[in-house]
């Protein structure tokens, strides 16, 4: 009589704990394993084996890791600070474009041939500012500082004037749209419509080389792990708790004496920097950067990944990005006409029926049964 509910409770307790604790920590070794497996899968495992991965597959995993990084960045501001940005593509784009400038610089140093769009501009060389981006480490540093600055200025203006909720979403979306239009113009000098391509080497390594591509994919996994650990630490710190409080009742936090806009600003800038890093890793892997990476479409899609995975859970955001993009790469080659309908359908079902996303729903179910 008395033993039955006890076992049920124990089993559910395990599920809940498994989800909320073990998986959230467990994802770190999983991702590290994936990172370690990639070079092994290509070089050591014979091609005939099912465990062997083609360079295409590894490249895909690298790209998906970049998207997961983007989702993580958005989850930090949306899930914890309640700011739904439909403009994270801007920061992704800043990272991507600055990286492309570096790559073009190093390609020019190697081949001494200017890219077509620079030749059409008739300036006879790169703009002088581009000279700063001649080394990879400097480029990374400048990108981080520049992104933080841009995000800081925008965040300061908007948060201080208490623009939030859907208003902020709309404004960020409009900004993304404006930036995309700007980048489409040829005279802006960033390649216009065709974007920038023709990269040859990165930090002295051949960019198309097998080991470079695998290295970039591994690097994406590693950055994702580091960012995840960092963000999770932050989310569980007092700053993270304050952010959650701001999300749930900003007015009350203000009355309690917190500078809510400063709290939001910190999360916002950090998130922007992570998104820019994702862009920096993404561009050398796809070999091109063009204005579509700042399209409003992509920026909304980031939010969709997070919503599907479950916002405010970090691991859910990463899982959502990996799931959706994996599905997208698989389905758009198989059934290109059907993919938008599937994405729309999944988004609708998850958002309407499971407001917390896949991860959030599982977790809530575990906690509910636990009670």
């Amino acid at each position: 009589m008395t033993t039955l509910p006890e076992t049920a409770a124990r089993r559910n307790w395990t599920l809940s704990a498994f989800l909320s604790k073990w998986m959230e920590i467990g994802i770190v070794p999983v991702l590290i394993l994936v990172a370690a497996y990639l070079p092994f899968a290509y070089f050591a495992i014979p091609e005939a084996s099912a465990l062997h991965m083609s360079l295409f597959g590894i490249n895909l995993i690298g790209q998906i890791m970049c998207f997961a990084l983007l989702a993580l960045a958005l989850d930090l501001v949306w899930g914890y600070a309640g700011i739904l940005s439909l403009g994270h593509g801007i920061f992704f784009g800043i990272g991507g474009y600055l990286m492309a400038i570096y790559l073009l610089n190093s390609a020019y140093a190697e081949t001494n041939v200017l890219p077509d769009f620079i030749q059409y501009m008739g300036t006879g060389g790169f703009p002088t500012v581009w000279k700063i981006f001649s080394r990879l480490d400097v480029t990374v540093l400048i990108t981080i500082v520049f992104t933080a600055l841009v995000a800081g200025v925008f965040g300061f203006v908007t948060f201080r004037s208490r623009i939030n909720g859907v208003y902020l979403s709309i404004i960020t979306q409009a900004l993304t749209y404006a930036l995309m239009l700007l980048l489409f113009i040829n005279d802006v000098g960033l390649g216009g419509n065709n974007g920038m391509t023709g990269f040859t080497n990165i930090a002295g390594l051949r960019i198309a080389g097998v080991s470079t591509q695998i290295g970039l994919a591994v690097c994406s996994c590693v950055v994702l792990v580091v960012a995840y650990v960092g963000v999770r630490y932050l989310a569980h710190s007092s700053l993270g708790r304050a952010l959650i409080a701001v999300r749930d009742d900003e007015a009350r936090m203000r009355f309690l004496g917190y500078r809510t806009h400063t709290l939001k600003l910190i999360a916002w800038c950090l998130s922007a920097v992570i998104a820019a890093l994702a862009g920096m890793l993404y561009v050398p892997q796809v070999g091109i950067v063009n204005p579509t990476i700042v399209s409003p479409q992509l920026s909304v899609e980031i939010a969709v990944w997070v919503a599907i995975g479950g916002r405010g859970t970090l691991i859910g955001a990463i899982a959502g990005a990996i799931l959706v993009n994996g599905l997208k790469f698989w389905l758009s080659s198989q059934l290109p006409e059907v993919w938008p309908f599937i994405l729309a359908g999944v988004t609708l079902v998850i958002v309407v029926a499971f407001g917390n996303g896949v991860w959030g729903t599982l977790k809530a179910a575990g906690e509910e049964a636990n009670r």
Binding site: W78, L84, L86, V157, T158, S161, R162, I163, G165, V166, Y167, S169, I170, I171, Q173, A174, L175, Y177, A178, L181, L182, I185, P296, V300, A303, V304, A307, E337, P340, F341, L343, A344, G345, T347, L348, V351, V352, A353, G355
Partner: protein, 538 residues
Amino acid sequence: MMTGRWLFLTVLCWLLTGMSTSAWAATNHSALLAAFCATDGNKATALEQFVEAGVSDETQDQAWARLIVDAIRNSALVCNSSGLVTIQGTPPLDAATLKTAANSNPGDSPYVPSIVMMRKLMVASAEIDLFSGQRDTRADAARQVDKSFALLDPAIITKAIKRERDPDIASVLTLAMAKRGLGSNNRADRLAAIKAVAEVPSETARTALANFVAQDSVRSDPEVLAAVQSAIAKIDTSLSFGRAFSILFSGLSYAGVLLLTALGLSIVFGLMGVINLAHGEFIMIGAYSTYLVERFMQAHMPGLFDAYIFVAIPVAFVISAVCGMLLEFFVIRFLYRRPLETLLATWAVSIALIKLVQVLFGSQNVEFVTPGFLNGGMQVSPGFFVTYNRVFAIVLALLIFLATFAVVRLTKLGLLMRATTQLRDMARCLGVAAERVDRLAFGLGAGLAGLAGVVLTQIASVNPSMGTGFVVDSFMVVVLGGAGSLLGTVVSSLALGEINQFIEPFYGAVAAKVAVLLLIVLIIQKRPQGLFALKTRV
């Protein structure tokens, strides 16, 4: 063919008018022809005589001259060695009387005009056309005269200008005359011509003066130079007014579409706090409904084809409104109090709708046949051309806004909507079925977007993704105007429409978008709820 018709008319005229006139005319005609055919005669002077006959008040002479000039142009006029002048054809005609020629000599060859003569003939023909009863013929003739202004006959053009009722044609002719005057060596003529050009300001007039002032002979004459410069300045002022008006006007039509789109958005946002990213797709649905109506009318009632745009108004409204209510019923009502998720859900709906329409209709632009009465436009002042389709857009937007205003202010639904917007819980306590109000309001908003789609078929291209660009701008209108405020929507769509069109021609579309965004961010600093925030109590 042409000749045949003129011949018929000529014969008719001859039958109608008396024999006495005709006898005089025939003599006169043969004298003119003889002068033309004389071996030592000046063909150009003789041609002028024909034109003079052609522009006389006698209908009969007019028709005759037209016929002769055409015959010369077509190399069909034969000066026979016997002295008889005939027009080639079967049977050959006596050129003076236009009766069948008695004895034509097959050995004589027709007169073939030289290239110089051809140009004179062209002008002569155009000059005769200036006295035609058809407006379009006169307008074409005026353009022709303007093109070869150096060859025109000032007496005839002056006469034509005096007779001309249409100001457009008259100004073209005046300009042609003036251009000819500018080419003269006589200083008084030049001054008069400069004055005349300044009277008919247009881009071409300005170009004519600019070319004129570039000549050395003009630069050396201070009086003429001063006159030209003041004339150019006068034209510039007048043109810049025209340009300003046309920017204002295109801004107004853009504002009209923005207003229709943003009204629905604003009502829904004000009422439910819901942002509908699929709103742009209702515009698209409205436009495609119009397309279906157009196809249907073309196939089944070609007689009433021009009226399709009016049939499309209710059809598009109903289709979009039903789609809107379905969206509300199946998706949105589950997401109240979760506005950010609504954003994503409606985005999903929007990509599905775009893809669906792409599958059904293809992703390229669909072509519309503009109804006859919306074709063309009117020159209001120099540099300011009003097209009827834009006038239609503005008028329709205005009427629909008034209707919406009436619905919101005067009907019971409007009353319930306003009550729910202000204080949802209290309204429900008093027995308002808030869910029903929500659904109807959502339908109304979607229907209004559909109407914007109808308007857009006439002024923009229609394709599956047409709504996405518009919806960003409409959101800006709502953010600036304040959600749920009709007045705010009008003011801010006017402001944004005009700002957009004022910046775009000078700095490009991107600068316009960025400027609008900055403006909005600045205004929101001072008024976070928009310019015309409703007083709500939550």
